[in-house]
Symmetry: C2
Subunit: 346 residues, 2 copies
């Protein structure tokens, strides 16, 4: 079968690999019908050294169950399923608390750490009963792009808003106009935020952000951007800041725009380890810090109905589509900001 | 009148100063009947340079109202009152949200930033209506030491537990066996924590901690201390970590013992600005960071009844008592860990 491999920064290829197959009785073999390229795939696309490669890519996928291991009880051949970016048993102590990204099962993992991946023809899914969720549509449904966002970006944006405890009537800043940032806007709107300020500088994206519920757009960065948000909020900043970038300037911007007593909720994977948290930055005004890898598995059942009935259309973040052969160009287009998010139909 | 001045690190003197007097119509003049030395007073006692001095000391006080400004409406001469360590109007946007330490009134301040202080014979209290709370006892009541803890240490320990969202049945680690740490133990117990692990190495203090509700005491620090807490909690650490020290090793210890999805709530004033918050430390397992200067004003009415009816006795943290002349020796005793907390009766 064919799969996407990254050999090092900037070097993505479609390669013939051994067919995926059941290895454990809790596995399922899934024939992939829709996958995509993630903003977080661009981190290795910028930084990966050759000794770390080649790595199988893709952690968002929808597909048809082709075979199940002997211990899989909730899935059958022919089911259309979506897989979160994290493998979990969904029954351990942490999964039961809706923290599936900290599942303690020995086979729990992120797709990005496995020898399988979603940008491929097929995939072995470990802990299939815990990980996969059945979709009540056909593989060629027009809802597939929106349902695919449940694998990562919508659940991740929603996690940012949930961990920030966004309440009706609150003011929220979203930092970053990538797919996760736009999903954070949609999520803040869903939770009843009154003012949603989107910080981003790509007008086609911020226009989509306005469609998802952003009330204000701030294109300025740094001190100018901070001053603009404070101006828009009567001087004090916003209760919640949803940080969907992961670079230090975004963190510093978050500190600049958060209201006393407010919360910075991070879902952009931090590209730094140390950051200001002392008296001047967080402590003086009781600013809280929250977030982490989103347990998107926890949110799928909650978010799916609004997609199925057409209330929301998160799939609008896909502005390009390709087959497997077009994946390397898809990385390039996303890296050069020509595409927001590329859908892959293997 | 006489007051405590710190000239520089290690140099505390009782000095004749001009009598305190009403300056603004919202002020009250209070004759101090009980005050104390705080663990946080030891930070300048270690670090203050001569150019920063002399500074008036003391931010916890009980006293009798002697005179009120023309706009003070809720207090009268003769009232016994307690003052939080932060001056606030108690009516602004942030005070109404119970974040009095971020009060936006022009006269809002911490006592430590004012030309007045609690370790003195009298004090001018700005924003008296907002700041002071009447006490329904006489100045010589045996309850005064416990009521004095409402000015800072009890409210601060309680803030740590509240900001951590301590719930019935949870496991909690308290880092630090100073007065605030012990009050955090009492607070976690009050909020229903099932297991309360106190990390501290002074047995007289940890014994008092056990009396306040600690179920386990860990005297080890660093990796040994972390391993011991994990052993006591089935391997995963505790839902909440209440950090009542403020030094980097305490922060690192907190990261070591917090459970995935858990929260580190800091009330020890950070003696650092940058700290680990990236993928390895906080992000990977959705660890949250909370805390800051406690809005103790918000907690006084809630915590006082249990003191008045004898349910709790937080005043047990005072293990020494002195008049003003004994204050310099009190600093020395606390610094050398001969006293836990020194009560001052001017």
């Amino acid at each position: 079968m064919r799969a996407t491999l990254m050999y090092q920064a900037g070097d993505v290829r479609i390669v013939e690999v051994p067919d995926s197959r059941i290895e454990h009785p809790t596995d399922a073999l899934v024939r992939i019908t829709a996958s995509c390229i993630c903003g977080s795939d661009l981190h290795p696309y910028h930084q990966m050294t050759a000794d770390k490669g080649p790595a199988r890519m893709g952690h968002e996928l929808i597909g048809v169950v082709e075979e199940t291991g002997s211990e899989v009880t909730t899935l059958a051949k022919g089911d259309l399923v979506v897989s979160p970016f994290a493998i979990s048993d969904n029954v351990c102590e942490f999964c039961r608390e809706n923290l599936q990204t900290s599942c303690v099962h020995a086979h729990a993992a992120f797709w990005d750490g496995l020898e399988e991946g979603g940008q491929a023809e097929a995939v072995r899914v470990p802990l299939a009963d815990g990980t996969l969720v059945k979709l009540p549509v056909a593989p060629d449904s027009a809802l597939v792009p929106s349902l695919l966002t449940l694998a990562d970006v919508f659940g991740t944006g929603y996690h940012a808003a949930k961990m920030a405890g966004v309440q009706p009537g609150q003011k929220v800043t979203v930092i970053g106009d990538g797919a996760v940032g736009l999903m954070a806007v949609l999520s803040a709107q869903r939770l009843g935020a009154e003012q949603i300020i989107l910080m981003g500088r790509h007008q086609d994206r911020t226009d989509l952000g306005r469609e998802f519920g952003a009330t204000d757009v701030v294109a300025d960065r740094g001190e100018e951007g901070i001053a603009r948000v404070r101006e828009l909020t009567g001087g004090h900043g916003t209760h919640a800041v949803l940080e969907a970038v992961g670079h230090m300037p975004a963190y510093e911007q978050a500190i600049g725009v958060v209201r006393p007593g407010g919360v910075i909720s991070r879902v952009g994977v931090p590209q730094y380890e140390e950051a200001p948290v002392g008296f001047r930055s967080l402590f003086r005004h009781n600013i809280r810090l929250a977030g982490g890898p989103a347990p998107v598995r926890a949110y799928i059942e909650e978010l799916m109905p609004d997609i199925l009935d057409g209330t929301i259309e998160p799939g609008k973040v896909f502005d390009a589509s390709t087959d497997l052969d077009g994946v390397p160009a898809g990385y390039r287009d996303m890296d050069e900001r020509r595409s927001l998010k590329v859908l892959v139909r293997p």
